[in-house]
Structures are given as structure tokens and as C-alpha cells.
Amino acid sequence: MRVKVKNLTKRFGEVTAVNSLTAEFESGKLIALLGPSGCGKTTMLNMLSGILPVTEGQIFFDEKDVTDLTPDKREVGLVFQNYALYPHMTVLENICFPLKIKKVSKAERIERAKEFAKMVHIEEYLNRKPKELSGGQQQRVAIARALVKNPKLLLLDEPLSNLDAKLRVEMREEIRRIQRESGVTTFFVTHDQEEASAISDYIMLMKLGEMQQYDKTRNLYNQPANLFVADFIGSPTINQLHGVYTKGGIKVDGDNQIIKTNHKWQVEEGSRVVLASRAEAITFNDKDDVKTKVVESYLSGKDTLVNLKIGSYNLRGYIDATKPIKIGDNLNIGFKTEGVFLFDELTGERYYE
């Protein structure tokens, strides 16, 4: 099912949690609502589910306006952050519950519940109570309970935050698999950019209630719309050199050289800018001429991650581990075309070529 939101706004008293958000979400995809805490991502999810009434704007499921419908009429499945499994019911009863409410016959609801229990790999635990399950198992039950009513939309609220690191990686792949198998349009909320990048088809990145970028997951990394997106996505964090755009290059604060890259940015002379570069976009070729000093180096697999100083800023890059690196060395670097961006320092807007 396609989801469309138009000027969606939610205010809690004076605070605007989501501010006039307009977007269209493709059917059958796994979409991450990503952002730091307080950015409005959970509010957004709760408005999609119908738990939270909308202050302004509209929500469409396909062509139907569902803005004023209650959760049960929207046909959504919701997985809560702490799963909210009914503690007095067994796993089977939990999964059956939405069907029981719909007055589906007992034989049929057990059959359907078992089918979904199998899909999420919990068929051995049907007679257990939630307290007898591990976090990962509880989460699978919660997903099965959300899916059993054949929702048109599956909503997951920080589904992995209660799991330990190893299980988190395992479960995010499970969510991906379950989403592919069921084909249901799925939204999931997370504050972990790595998690979002790993499994989602699309990411909507939010900050203080405003949408920063909504795009295919890859594009957020390769083509960030602004400095916030560039900074939020990717590990290690993107390198940021603040300075002035002068004579067709960037003069970094605290440094005298003018860095020239082979981009043709449309920037006014004298503008305050931020030169942002992915660690893998830093080159260490013989003809490279940007002078830096080595501050620190860490071994990272076949490469060495070097921390370099240029003016008042630090910069990280990956260098071949066979090259001898000493702290305090002078090292010349260059910038690739890909993975290097220029932003306005004040607004964070990106300068395009």
C-alpha cells in the first residue's frame, strides 16, 4: 500500500513535534524513520498508526484519506518498543488476539496464528508465556501478532533497541526477511543510522520535526541534501573542514593553503563554507598537495585509519597499512570527486556543481 502524507503537523502545546511534513512512500518497501531523539520520528509513526491524532494535515493510504480513522480501521500492525505482549496470555493466545477480536472462528485463528509463528520462527514456543521468552523471541511474537491480521501497513517502533548488540544484528536481518516474505509496506523507527542503512530501502531522516531528506538509502550517503544528513549518515562521521571559499578553493581556518578540488561549485567568493569528505574519499597519492600532519593512527583491517590535522580541524582517512606512518609526520593528501561535498556553514545547504 502506498502512503502519502500532506502537510502533516503535530503540536504538543507549544512544542511542534512534526512540522508540515509532505512525502510519498512507495508500496511494499521497508522505510526507516531515522533521526536523533526528539526529532519526531516516533510521533510520525504514531500518527500513521492512528494512536495519535493529527494537529494539521492529512494522511492517505493509497487514495483513501485515513486522517480521522481510529487505529483498528486503518488496518495497521504495530510493534511497540517494549513489545507490549499481553503477559497473561500464551504466545499462541497473543498472536490469536487480533483475530479473536475480529470474531474469526477458533480453528481458523489458530491455524493462521501458527502460520505466522512459523514465519517468525517461534513455533516451538506457542504455549509459553511472554515472561518465559528472551527479548528476541518476544519481538518475533510481537511481529507475528502485528502481521496476523494481514495489515496493509506494518509499523515498528524502535524494534531493536531492547536487544543486545549481537541479537540486534541478527534481528534486523530477520525483519528484512519477514518484510520481504510478507511484502507489506513497513515503517520502522530508529536512531541508529547504521541499522537504518543496513536494512531499509528508503530512509526518511528527520531533525526537530523537519524532514531533512527522504531518498533511497544509498543516496543519503552518496548525495546528502545538507550538512546534517552528511554528518548523521556514515561511520566514521564525515570529515568537516570549516573555512572561507576564496580564489576557487577553500582556505581552512587556522591554515594558509587554499585547498582546490576538481569540483566546480557555484559559490560566491568569501562565503563561509564547510568542506565535507568521507574518509574513503581522501587520497594519498604522490601528486597530492594538501599538507597535513599525522595526529594519530589506528590499525583497521588491511588499512590504517589516520587522524590528520589541517588548520584547526581534524580529518580521517584510510591509508594502506604497509605505508610507514609516524605520529607528527607531514602527509600530503588529495580529495576524490565522489564523497566530497561543500555546504554553506550557516544554513547547512549544499552547493551543487
Partner: protein
């Protein structure tokens, strides 16, 4: 997941010496002393007296040990009637007051404004003197001027002589009993309700559950541990029903001495007839009955430990 984790039992690493034992012992002493004098000693003394034949309280003499007191009370039709009356009263009052209290507590819990005011209002009877309340109820039940009969007259029901007709005296006692049990029950249930994570209600709503579905499928089962606790406490207290009876019928066990309860029987044997042996034996019988009910309750209760 649960907010209340069981406290694990840890042994202190500190060695118990005379010195480390003494300090906490002194702190505990006043309490232990009170319990010993007013609870433990009287209990064992009552057990002893119940087995003493021909016990005379003034001279503190008895003719020997035996089951005479028990034989005597069990062959007394008044005592048998008292046990039946008391059991009836307990079953009716505890169950009806529970149902009413659950409904009121759920309603109170869903009220957002003025919840504090309503809670206080429902709690008032608990902190009011039972003598005053008894007096008020005597007026409410009054044959000629009582408001209950006035309300019944609105439905064309003939006036009922609640207090003086032996046929209705049990009903009157139960009405009063249910009413007086409500505040405590409601407050405990309200506390239980407030311990239920509201997320379960949200989850159920997303699953399409209506208010009535939520009540029976979520609220009542999750409240079951509290309901069980309240049932035990109420059962114990209503087995000891006495002051309601004394107050409503002006010191008599019902208008025609038809409404003996175990405690009223005990009271009469003790104060009026000075038969301490019979009084003690009936106390022990009541103790045994309450113990039995509590044990059964506890057994059932174990099934509802979800967290």
C-alpha cells in the same frame, strides 16, 4: 519488564555477634513486645482455654483437659446457625462488593478530571466512625421515614421493614456490609489498575478491541492478582462480622435473635454468659475456617503470577 522485581534473599556478609545482634534487637523490641502481649500470648491462651473443661475465669481453675467445649458448641443449634449465617454473609458480601468495586474502580481510573476528589469521596466511609455510620444506616433503613423505602415506593414496591422483619434482616445486613466494604476495595483495586501498563490498552486498541473487549480480555485478567488479594483480605474481615450487626439491630443479633454470627455468638458466650471455654472454642473454630479459605485462595492465586 515488570516494574516490581522480587527481592532476592541475600545473606549479609557481616558476622552475627552479640554486638551486631543487640542493636537491631533493641529497635525491634517495642514491636515484638506488643505482638507478644496482645497477639501471641492471647492466641495460645485461647487455644489452651478452649481445651480446658469447666474453666472458671475468676478463680482461673478448671477440672481437666478435653474436647468438652467443642462438643458443647457443635451440639448448640445457635452456633451451627451462626456458622451458616456467617458463611452466607461472607460469600454474598465479598462477591457483590468485588463486582461493584471493580466497576467503580475502572470508571474512576478512566476519569481524568477530579479523580482526586472522587477518590476522596469514595474513601470517606473508611475514616468515619462506625457508630455514626450505623446510626445513619438505621435511618436509611427506617420503615416509615427511610430513604430506601421512599426509593422503593417510586417503583411501586411496598415498604420493607428492613430492620424489624426477620425475613429481611439478612438482606439489610448484607447491603450494609457491601457498602462498608467498598472504599477499601476500590482503593486497592484502583492501585492495581494504575499498575497496569497503559501500553496494553493501546496495543489492544490497535488490535481492534472495543472497550468491553478490553475490560474482559485485558483489564480483568491483569487485575486478577489484586482481585485475589482483596478477596482474601475482605473474606477474613467479613468472617469477623460483628459491629455492623450490633449497630444495625441495636445490640441484638437480628430482630428475632435470628442473625447470630460466629463473633456475636462468641461475644455473647464471653460477656453475657461468662462461658470462656465456649467462647474460646468458637474462636478457634472460626480461626480454622478462615485458615482453610485463605489456603484455598492462595492456591488459586498462584496461577495468576504473570510477571
Amino acid at each position: 519488564m515488570s516494574k516490581f522485581k522480587r527481592v532476592k534473599k541475600y545473606k549479609s556478609d557481616e558476622k552475627v555477634t552479640a554486638k551486631t545482634f543487640l542493636k537491631p534487637a533493641i529497635y525491634l523490641l517495642p514491636f515484638i513486645l506488643g505482638i507478644l502481649v496482645f497477639t501471641v500470648y492471647p492466641f495460645f491462651n485461647a487455644v489452651a482455654i478452649s481445651f480446658k473443661e469447666d474453666y472458671k475465669v475468676i478463680s482461673d481453675t478448671f477440672s481437666g483437659w478435653g474436647l468438652g467445649n467443642y462438643q458443647k458448641i457443635f451440639s448448640d443449634p445457635t452456633f451451627i446457625k451462626a456458622i451458616i449465617n456467617t458463611t452466607q454473609y461472607v460469600l454474598v458480601v465479598v462477591s457483590i462488593s468485588l463486582v461493584i468495586s471493580i466497576l467503580i474502580a475502572v470508571m474512576l481510573n478512566s476519569v481524568e478530571k477530579l479523580q482526586g476528589l472522587f477518590q476522596t469521596a469514595y474513601f470517606m466511609p473508611m475514616v468515619t466512625s462506625s457508630a455514626a455510620i450505623g446510626l445513619v444506616w438505621r435511618w436509611l433503613f427506617n420503615y416509615d421515614y427511610g430513604i430506601l423505602n421512599y426509593l422503593l415506593s417510586l417503583f411501586d414496591v411496598d415498604a420493607i421493614n428492613f430492620l424489624n422483619n426477620p425475613q429481611y434482616s439478612m438482606i439489610s445486613l448484607c447491603i450494609y456490609g457491601v457498602w462498608s466494604m467498598l472504599p477499601f476495595t476500590i482503593i486497592l483495586l484502583l492501585a492495581g489498575l494504575q499498575n497496569i501498563d497503559p501500553q496494553y490498552y493501546t496495543a489492544a486498541k490497535v488490535d481492534g478491541a472495543k472497550t468491553i473487549d478490553i475490560f474482559f480480555n485485558i483489564t480483568v485478567p491483569l487485575l486478577a492478582p489484586t482481585i485475589g488479594l482483596v478477596a482474601i483480605v475482605n473474606m477474613i474481615s467479613s468472617f469477623k462480622v460483628f459491629d455492623a450487626l450490633y449497630m444495625l439491630f441495636g445490640g441484638k443479633p437480628g430482630p428475632a435473635y435470628n442473625l447470630y454470627t460466629v463473633i456475636f455468638y462468641l461475644y455473647e458466650q464471653f460477656y453475657t454468659k461468662l462461658k470462656l471455654g465456649y467462647a474460646a472454642a468458637s474462636a478457634i473454630v472460626l480461626f480454622a475456617i478462615i485458615l482453610l479459605f485463605t489456603m484455598v485462595q492462595n492456591r488459586i492465586q498462584k496461577k495468576y503470577d504473570y510477571y
